[in-house]
């Protein structure tokens, strides 16, 4: 009915408060003048008239207040009043306000940071696409299988032809492949000759159209390029690569390029900001090959279609396909998940990891809230008189609670805003803490509406949670005793504060232990007990197949390359290997024994089906052990005589030797047959010629360490190789290595060049580093907050017990005894909190143990260290209160009231 005028006046009241108030003043004064006039006319003297008028007007201020209360927006007014009052109270206690707001900012900031990461990786589609909310990933799963399941090009076509609930079904290869790219002299920016390594993503021809990604120059792939995959030898450049390599030169469109020696033509450049659909960002896109088998598929929901409907149709299609072709579609089940830079198939691991981080930072927020709640409680006690006075003057309980909550909310608004600002900084810090990845990374972590809503909601929930108890407590003030200023507050309030401090200590010791465990694990992975010397070793990755080397020519090239490399000045030793120690361990297969000619008759004594053992092979050129300074404990290194056609040989590590031939000499034994590339190329059983010291296996999460064997590259060939060169003075030789590669074959790109120390960036190490960084930081913050809490509660308790202490001292108590009293009070809280925290930590340690590389969940160093640390912090926090207590003058204390 009268909605509109009310809204209008609400707006006027709030936006033009000054004018509205001035008008009211004028109106009331105008009435007063009229009244005076009226009284004058009835024959009173001016003085009498004024007095009569004033009498009739009543209390003008009350009238005005009542008008304000009647106005629209009176509630808002009240809140503003509360906020103003709250701000004044906070300004009067700057230390309290700053500490509380700061700890909240840290808690909210840390939580928001992790949420920003989760949001960027899991909750929003990759940037640069049109209508991201309708994009979905198509996820095939198989019962009992936890790894990635990819689709093939054939399956993609089958699905795409049949599906009706999705439009624009597209596919791409999840992992961009390093390729060698040669641009003609004129096309490249610096005119540099020679191949360059770029990461290429294979995509279906409708990829860009399906995602709604336009071209920044030239054009993107289109249906016109033909349905036949690989038919069009076109390449689309990413905007970043176009800028970096071609200096944003539009004339690059239509130019020829060579990719792995094959001719391609530049079709165009994709829109700025689009870096592919996953976290691994390709620099160029080429059409997918028809035999592609590692495809991720996705599509766009048709309007009005839900994910469940699409999944149901996919499953129906899958069953139909399985009937037609049981081999290919056996037990696949199909799901549909919203699209995000971490494709649905790999999301599980990331969710678990981010969940762990979130749990860590949420603890900081809990500690911060407990801290603020504790301080608020103490202040509520201090303000009992004020509150009692207000109750006496007629303030309702709801109004009082609102007032106190507004004060808290104000703190949380400040904390929340500072927290979001902090989250910005911490997000970039987190990104900076990540090591250089071998593949360009597509990480877009914006502070979007969702993140802000999260931070806002979190602040609100935290404010209510930590403000409600103190506010309710304060408003329940016992008016009589408060006005009489009895120094002894209700004891349940003190108990509550103690509980908050115990909780703080428990959670922060949990954080510190988690940080310690993760840090120890990280140290173990990166520096300790690696078993080789990573210092001063340059690493370069090459893939001989990119320059067209075959099985035969590749071996010759490898041998010549190593020999020329060794002759370079400054090189102490050099070799080639297809695995880098400390890098991710790839399991070849499981091992089955076969007849061992050196131990006749042993075959029969073995169980028919021995438990499968994971194993890993490294193909190396001679000099591998010398270059990495891995000692050979028996036998010899490979040499020039170990080549194709001679007796197949192998070197095993010590623990492999121990496990295969316990208590016996390994050198001279024949290696059991191993499925996979080593045995496939073996004409005869492989004989062990040497035993090397163990090298730490990363990814140590597996229960059984893998059996490790080394085979000569000349006997078992692999095209993807790593150059390892130990330099004499630890200088970088990357340029010389590159020059040598280019001199020997200009089509062979260096895929990656760094030092072996930098190499240690496997996903496990990255996760550990991030987790250790996060938990270390939050552990420290938690520690600080907890010590403030201990200090606060102890100091407060001393204040409460001043009289008691005074009496004790009058009766002859020594200072030491008083100090002991205070110490016991503070440290008993620390003790209880620490005990609870250590219990929680031992449970958490068991969960973390999966990550911890053989570190026991109850690592004595970490647990002992954390306990000592907290004892020290507790003592430090008690120091000032103890000093204060022992300086109490009995006379003053007794006069205190």
């Amino acid at each position: 009915m009268a909605g509109l005028p009310r809204l209008r006046s609400l707006w006027r009241n709030l936006a033009h408060r000054d004018r509205v108030d001035r008008d009211l003043d004028d109106e009331v004064r105008g009435m007063f003048d009229l009244l005076v006039e009226e009284k004058r006319r009835s024959g009173l003297t001016p003085e009498q008239a004024r007095r009569a008028a004033a009498l009739e007007m009543g209390q003008v201020d009350v009238t005005k207040a009542r008008v304000r209360d009647a106005r629209a927006g009176a509630f808002v007014d009240g809140v503003q009043q509360d906020a103003r009052y709250g701000a004044r109270v906070l300004r009067r206690n700057p230390i309290f306000a700053i500490t509380a707001a700061l700890s909240l900012a840290i808690g909210i900031g840390a939580t928001t940071t992790i949420f920003t990461v989760a949001n960027g990786l899991l909750l929003r589609a990759a940037p640069g696409v049109a209508e991201p909310n309708r994009l979905v990933d198509i996820v095939p799963t198989m019962k009992g299988h936890f790894g990635l399941i990819f689709t093939t090009y054939g399956i993609y076509l089958d699905v795409r032809e049949r599906i009706t609930t999705l439009q624009d079904v597209y596919a791409y290869e999840l992992e961009p492949k390093p390729v060698s790219l040669r641009a003609p002299r004129a096309a490249s920016r610096d005119g540099a000759e020679g191949a360059e390594r770029v990461f290429s993503g294979s995509v279906t021809l409708n990829y860009f159209e399906a995602l709604g990604v336009p071209a920044a120059a030239g054009r993107v792939f289109g249906a016109a390029d033909g349905e036949q995959p690989g038919a069009a030898s076109l390449v689309v450049l990413s905007h970043d690569y176009w800028v970096r390599r071609f200096n944003s030169d539009p004339s690059v469109v239509g130019r020829p390029l060579q990719i792995n020696g094959q001719p391609f033509v530049v079709a165009g450049v994709a829109r700025e900001g689009f870096r592919g659909m996953s976290v691994a960002a390709p620099e160029v896109w080429i059409p997918v090959a028809a035999d592609a088998a590692q495809l991720m598929t996705g599509g766009r929901l048709k309007p009005g279609v839900s994910r469940a409907q699409a999944a149901a149709e996919l499953n129906a299609i899958g069953r139909g396909l399985a009937r037609e072709n049981p081999n290919r579609f056996g037990e696949l089940e199909w799901g549909v998940a919203f699209s995000s830079p971490l494709p649905a198939v790999v999301r599980g691991v990331a969710v678990a990891f981010i969940g762990l981080l979130m749990a860590l930072v949420a603890m900081v927020l809990v500690i911060a809230c407990a801290n603020v709640a504790g301080v608020l409680l103490a202040r509520a006690t201090a303000r009992r008189r004020e509150i009692a006075v207000r109750v006496t003057l007629g303030a309702g309980r709801a109004r009082l609670v609102r007032q106190l909550l507004t004060e808290t909310a104000l703190l949380f608004v400040i904390g929340g805003i500072a927290g979001v600002a902090l989250a910005r900084g911490m997000t970039s810090l987190l990104l900076a803490a990540l090591p250089a990845f071998p593949v360009p990374v597509n990480l877009f972590l914006p502070l979007d509406g969702r993140v802000l809503a999260f931070a806002g909601g979190l602040s609100l929930v935290a404010a209510v949670l930590s403000g409600m108890t103190p506010a309710l407590h304060a408003s329940r003030a016992d008016v009589i005793s408060a006005l009489k200023d009895e120094s002894q507050g209700p004891s349940d309030r003190l108990r509550l504060r103690n509980a908050f401090v115990v909780a703080q200590v428990a959670f922060s010791i949990l954080l510190v232990v988690a940080a310690g465990l993760l840090g120890r694990a990280l140290g173990r992975v990166t520096t300790l007990e690696q078993g080789f010397d990573a210092q001063g070793v340059d690493v370069a990755a090459i893939d001989l197949s990119m320059a067209g080397y075959t099985d035969d020519t590749g071996r010759v090239f490898a041998r010549e390359f190593v020999e020329r490399l060794r002759r370079l000045p400054g090189i102490e030793s050099a070799t080639l290997a297809d695995r880098v120690p400390g890098g991710p361990l790839q399991m070849e297969a499981t091992l089955r024994r076969r007849g061992d000619p050196s131990a006749a008759g042993s075959t029969e004594s073995l169980p028919a089906e021995p438990p499968p053992v994971p194993w890993s092979a490294n193909l190396v050129e001679p000099g591998y052990f010398k270059t990495l300074r891995i000692p050979l404990v028996a036998g010899r290194d490979f040499n020039a005589g170990d080549r194709r056609g001679t007796q197949p040989v192998a070197i095993v590590d010590e623990s492999t030797a121990r496990r295969l031939w316990p208590g016996q000499e390994a050198v001279g034994r024949f290696l059991p047959s191993v499925p996979g590339r080593v045995s496939a190329q073996d004409p005869a059983p492989r004989v062990v010629v040497g035993v090397a010291r163990d090298v730490a296996q990363s990814g140590g999460a597996t229960k059984t360490p893998a059996l490790v064997i080394y085979a000569p590259l000349q006997q078992v060939y692999g095209p993807r190789l790593t150059v390892l060169a130990r330099t004499r003075q630890g200088q970088r030789m990357a340029r010389e290595i590159r020059a040598l590669v280019t001199a020997m074959n200009p089509n062979l790109p260096i895929l990656a060049a760094h030092t072996l120390e930098e190499r240690q960036t496997g996903p496990v190490v990255v996760q550990l580093r991030v987790a250790a960084l996060v938990s270390g930081t939050v552990g420290l913050v938690g520690l600080l907050l907890a010590s403030i809490g201990i200090y606060g509660v102890t100091a407060y308790a001393i204040g409460q017990r001043t009289r008691e202490i005074g009496i004790r001292m009058t009766l002859g108590a020594q200072r030491a005894e008083v100090g002991w009293l205070v110490l016991r009070q503070g440290m008993s809280l620390v003790g209880i909190g620490a005990a609870i925290g250590l219990l929680l930590a031992s449970a958490a340690g068991r969960v973390l143990a999966r990550l911890l590389f053989g570190l026991p969940p109850l690592d004595p160093v970490t647990f002992g260290g954390a306990t000592l640390l907290f004892a020290a912090v507790g003592l430090a926090a008690c120091y000032v209160p103890i000093r204060r207590a022992t300086r109490i003058s009995p006379m003053e204390a007794l006069r205190y009231e």
Partner: protein, 109 residues
Amino acid sequence: MGRDRATLLQGTLDLLILKALAAGELHGLGVSRRIEQITHGTFVVQPGSLFPALHRLEEAGWLTSTWEASENNRRAKYYLLTKAGRKQLGEETAQWNRIAVAIARALEA
């Protein structure tokens, strides 16, 4: 304030203000005097009740106001019934009459 006055029934103040303004625009004191006059002095509205009610009715859209020169040549805020206000007056009058009849019958019974 010595005069004996009937306390205003809840809700009657609004009705009286609307009625007072039915004859034409008035300022605050005018409304007060007019109510006194039409109720033959039974109701005297204090400023502390009058102003909140006037502002509430204005915000409800039943009154509008203008600033004009008053009889003593000062600025005064004059209130005027709106169309919605006139309708509201009709409805409240009808409602009041129903209640008055019902109460009268109840008291006679």
